[in-house]
Subunit: 265 residues, 2 copies
């Protein structure tokens, strides 16, 4: 692989990296942006996702030799000065390592569940619309060995640039899929032998007393509204006991506590 | 309390709110900025901290009636249009509720520890330099009833605007103090009967098997470097078991797991 020197921010070969922040909002037609060394490594090691190109600061290139060896020989690696990197990205990119990846064809929830092993832990997200929370939940899910993340249609995209960054690449690692009908999805999990737990401040069982199961699904909802009552009625509900007067835990922090409890089985 | 209408962004009465982001970096000489309704409520309810003024969007004022009743009658409440709010703050302030508070005289670690009850949980931070992490750790500390946060000199300021916001006001609620000499501070805790635990990926005991104590201190270090070996040698070390191949947990997520374990005693 020979690095390609780019001298002009309008060079069409780096058009995908132009004005990164604005593009985050407009969308990228099936592509995503990965930032940083750890995330690039995960992208190039991924069996599922592929990179279209890499854009790197000249002084970071030598540190990427090992990682870039994992890439196909024909992957374009563009090299730029710091000034040019900022001119392309539209703001100061101190990390200096970017890549554009191609998303997979969205996977349906059923086939994803069918591919899971006999012992499996899945995270089910309802209405997680904040990219920080999404990224943190993926990071925690990876740390505790979750096998998949399933999301309802109101969740945000885990492959949004910031979500990937906060996940430290876990969003590229853990398979995920979306579903539209929560009731139908719950039935789908039940048919496949999953014990289903929902985290809620009004949960019946303190999380430390909840018995894990070989196949287990953990539902997490938004911080404000929480999970809908209609869903809570059909699931085992678990709570995290908090101090009186400040019963406020970020959903990502709550996911860490619950996943740690259920993962060490 | 009669709200005072402000018409000019250069009005000296709102000078403290000018160019909020730039001011974050330059510092505020003993003052801090609180954002949002929940944080304002905590500031006005605080016995320790006091507000100098409040700046609020005209359409948010009626929602603050209850909260503003907790303020001294002479607290200035400035009311502005959305356009003026943005002109003052220097960016789009969609929350629409700001206040300037006065910091306390920094407290020494010794007197703060002496004021703690017989059963106490304290969080000790070494090198936490990221305001997001600082805010999240304070939020978790409040959620699990920690009595105090103690920080070494390399930690960032918990009363930085973003740290307060991420903490959902917990940074205004939990007493904190700094220390310079870690070894001396550890001795100080030991003299006062604290069992001292340090969270580390190489910890000897899995956190779920760590026995709580009536007086307990939990040390947390930076994500990259972790706690220094010289410190780990003198403390009980605990680990959070993670999945192989992705042993990466954000320090705030780790704090949630550890505080949940130690708080329900």
């Amino acid at each position: 692989m020979d690095p390609i020197r780019i001298e002009d921010p309008r060079d069409p070969r780096v058009a995908g990296y132009l004005d990164i922040r604005e593009r985050d909002l407009a969308g990228r037609q099936g592509r995503f942006v990965a930032e940083g060394k750890v995330v690039l490594d995960l992208l190039l090691s991924s069996g599922r996702l592929s990179a279209e190109s890499v854009l790197v600061l000249e002084n970071r290139l030598s540190g990427l030799t090992e990682i870039l060896r994992k890439a196909p020989a024909d992957l374009p690696v563009y090299v730029v000065t710091s000034t040019l990197m900022d001119a392309i990205a539209g703001f100061h990119m101190h990390r200096g390592i970017l890549a554009i990846g191609r998303k997979e064809t969205p996977q349906a929830a059923g086939p994803l569940l069918d591919a899971l092993p006999a012992q499996a832990l899945v995270v089910v997200l309802i209405g997680i619309a904040n990219h920080d929370n999404m990224g943190s939940i993926f990071r925690n899910a990876a740390a505790f060995g979750a096998d998949a993340v399933l999301m309802d249609a109101t969740c945000c995209d885990p492959l949004y640039r910031k979500a990937i960054r906060v996940s430290v690449g876990a969003a590229l690692k853990i398979p995920f899929a979306s579903f539209t009908d929560s009731a139908g999805f719950t039935a789908m999990l039940a048919e496949r032998g999953f014990e289903q737990f929902a985290l809620s401040p009004r949960g019946r069982t303190e999380i430390r007393d909840a018995d894990p199961a070989a196949r287990l699904a953990l539902y997490l909802g938004t911080e404000g509204e929480g999970l809908p009552e209609s869903l809570l009625d059909r699931l085992h509900t678990v709570r995290i006991t908090m101090s009186e007067g400040f019963d406020s835990l970020n959903v990502a922090a709550a996911s860490a506590i619950a996943l740690h409890h259920f993962s060490n089985r």
